[in-house]
Symmetry: D2
Subunit: 293 residues, 4 copies
């Protein structure tokens, strides 16, 4: 399934993400490069981590009027990058990312993701949905998206992941969204999609990692609950945080109330994180994220 | 120091706090008691913890027109309480609570507390300020409040607390506010003021308990930071939470920024908790709080 | 379409809403009535507007064990109500409300409402969707809900409403949700559903009523935008407010960004308001609401 | 009164603010200028208003190691600015701004401002406090700040402002903070301090401008209240907004509760705005602000 996308009519842009040791002259080098080829910058965000002395840049410019071909652009950026020891990546707004969704039994995040794609709010392709349960199959079918039921148990986890990876590759998936997928991933699949698996955890991490966070929050008597979207790493619920949000609760809220009210938090926080990922607004380092606004 | 208080002109009220096993007829018994003596209820809040089957009530009524003397009121409530096995407490709005403030070197919470009392926003008496450092002495002096410098080291902790307790008793202190007091209390003083020591911790508990929470929050890359006010128990930073609040942060915020921005959170969260305590709006059970609105 | 509902398995309750002039003895009368018939109260919320001297009560009790039949309950409440001059209404949790949805071209609120019903998060029946455009017909069809396209122009507004009212009555609709329905209702339909039409307005009312609030917010340079759900009255965007929420924006947000980010606000705020309405948690007076927590 | 300031020990920086018509090459020109003189950029924020085609830049660099004198820096920036038609301003972090505070009877904002300066949280000089009432004189005296009581009535407004302006000039005041100063300023004083008078209004503007906003908010039954800090212009409560924040309220909150709870909002929102102003993080255009993070 693919939404028409809001930006279809908008002009194509190139998006360059850079990180490198901080140094005098990086800005000048990049902006000189773009201005010398008539690149009209539409967005320019930079950040310097002073403690670690790392420079981060996201620059987006219009392709219309830009005097370099895409091939030459790549080549020239490579030349530019060398003296500064830049890590960099380049993508074009015309490319439609391919997103796999993993889900278990809870439907609310999946509904929200599908609504955004179906309504054209997001410009992304969902080639498949994978689940360890069959509950969401009808929803996937109504949306016209292939659904793969791959049960997972302790014994079959490895085989299940092997099959998942095969399906993901077959479908040329760019990144994975875990929409309340209640299984732990192994290093196998994480290594295949490093920094490209987005999870939603139903607590304000690092508080209440692991199972049943709403029960723990209720037992602890917190006055605010949260949800956290992060990239998945090998450490459970400990990957780089992309987005968090919270709501106020009180002694009147039972565990069931927290679960119910938390659902809205979860779906909104997850969708904000996916949106930032789709826009290439996120840079990861030291188990943290730079998320440009 | 004592502020004139906003409620000085307002009519005296009685405030009854009740907790007991839930049962049919509690509401009826209490409201019958009040209506039979012409008690005009100005606030009535109840809560039932369904899991633990505990009933909580805070009822406030005007003394003007109430047909019972204070003495008889106590006696009749005792009679009322018996069949329901109620824990209860009664106080009158005319009583001015006496609050001790403990502080170390950070001034922002102390400034905020003093401003509320000096300006008459709160009706409370501060008979003394105790600190393990001398930094805040000039501020206390300007406010006209006796300041006691009681240094604390691992070796002197017990003796220091003994002296603190003597001062607190001498000054007939009702409750203690730890306004960024950076010392761990021992069971000795906690036992003297059970449920009557309010602390502010500079994180969104239970995330980042203990020392240097802003450093930990920065290292973890959270997108939201918080502050938590709670009653002190023997478990460090694990007592019943009264109030929490949060602010959004980003990759742009250094540890120093978190410290700076957190100060406002801390002072506001602490003051909200103290305000609720002053109003007798808090009931504690199972290491949690019922905080009526 | 009807969701199975979360509460299907839970025990039936009765919900009594009361408002009347404040007086001594109301609480006692109501709680005596319930306790004398063995009514186990599961929720009890009261509020007194001190300025206007009005008393509000919502009390919910379990039908299991309650010793009165539904018929007799109504009769006895009528007797109870008389001396206090109570306005009151009584409903049972077993009744499934029937909700009509009006929509125009924007789909996000409709998607969100449908997801909640389809997934069983809400226990409500949607017998029909009415729109002045055809865009949402496929979505309604996929959800299996009858869709009525009723175009509206200045000239046809009255005739259109007459047809709408006929459809609503035919379908025994209890209340109407305007899910970004971009037409002004006339007094005709409002009179048919007083206090039973819920709208979502895409601003923080009373700021920016009327058309294009995001454009106005952007022009004014506000740092926070909001959404407001309210009951519809004859005064445009001026009815009793049920729920509001906000998000922080900045100079970086274009009008398009506000529109995009506002969509999430709108759908969540609308759904919270509908949820409170479904739970009979709202009392309306003086163009304001009491919304119990 | 002057606080020691947190940044005293930190290295001196130069802060350059630029706005001009957007064009290719601005970034390159500025960053080339700095890198050619070994300017180590510590903060670089830019924004482009796409609709109005205006470019905004705030760049901060260390003076240590920068190879130009302050005099030459000004001269070279002037040369740089010309072809791009830049408006620009340059200041150094070593300069301590001089801030006048205007206040009436409400003390909470003044207390908060003074605490920040006295405690060294802010690095700013307060040479005088002006008030139309005498209530705050003791507080000013305790803080050791000259206090001027200048009563204002409709008839004396002009003469009062003339005296205020004389005092402000005499004291070489850089900017003015209206800390709940309940008088309308005339164009006379506004013209003397354009974009340099910061007000706090106790509502979420543009809702409830003018007098008694909490009464209006209560009458309208809003579920959220706010406070707004803005630069003063000739249009009452309609100047460029710097900062806003909100808190959730309910039917339980009386007007007095809104007033009480709003005080914390007001003082925090005002202080955030002043802090941004002190850091030269604000650019004003089209009655809006760019506030860099």
């Amino acid at each position: 399934m693919s939404g028409p996308g809001q930006k279809e009519q908008s002009r194509e842009t190139a998006i360059l993400l850079i990180s490198c040791p901080d140094a005098i002259g990086i800005d000048a080098a990049v902006t000189n490069f773009l201005s010398s080829h008539r690149g009209n910058i539409v967005d320019f965000d930079q950040h310097v981590d002073k403690e670690q002395n790392i420079f981060f840049l996201r620059v987006e410019w219009e392709m219309e009027g830009f005097s370099l071909s895409k091939e030459k652009t790549e080549a020239e950026i490579a030349v530019l990058a060398k003296p500064f020891n830049m890590s960099w990546s380049l993508r074009y707004s015309s490319a439609v990312p391919r997103m796999a969704v993993f889900v278990s039994k809870q439907p609310h995040c999946l509904y929200d993701l599908l609504a955004r794609v179906q309504s054209g709010e997001w410009r992304v392709e969902i080639p498949l949905i994978i689940s360890n349960h069959q509950d969401m199959e009808p929803l996937a079918r109504r949306a016209g998206i292939p659904f793969f039921h791959i049960p997972v148990s302790r014994e079959t986890r490895e085989a299940a992941e092997t099959r998942q990876i095969a399906l993901l590759k077959e479908n040329r998936v760019d990144f994975i969204v875990l929409a309340r997928y209640m299984q732990i991933l192994t290093p196998q699949i994480i290594a295949e999609f490093p920094g490209r698996i987005i999870n939603i955890h139903h607590s304000f991490l690092p508080a209440f990692p692991g199972a049943k966070p709403y029960h723990s929050a209720h037992a602890r008597g917190v006055k605010i609950i949260g949800a956290t979207s992060h990239y998945v790493t090998e450490d459970l619920d400990a990957g780089p945080i992309i987005e968090q949000d919270v709501i106020r609760v009180s002694h009147k809220d039972s565990v069931d109330d927290l679960v119910r009210r938390g659902r809205d938090l979860e779906k909104i926080v997850l969708s904000r994180a996916v949106w930032r990922h789709l826009q290439s607004k996120i840079l990861v380092y030291s188990n943290k994220t730079v998320v440009f606004g």
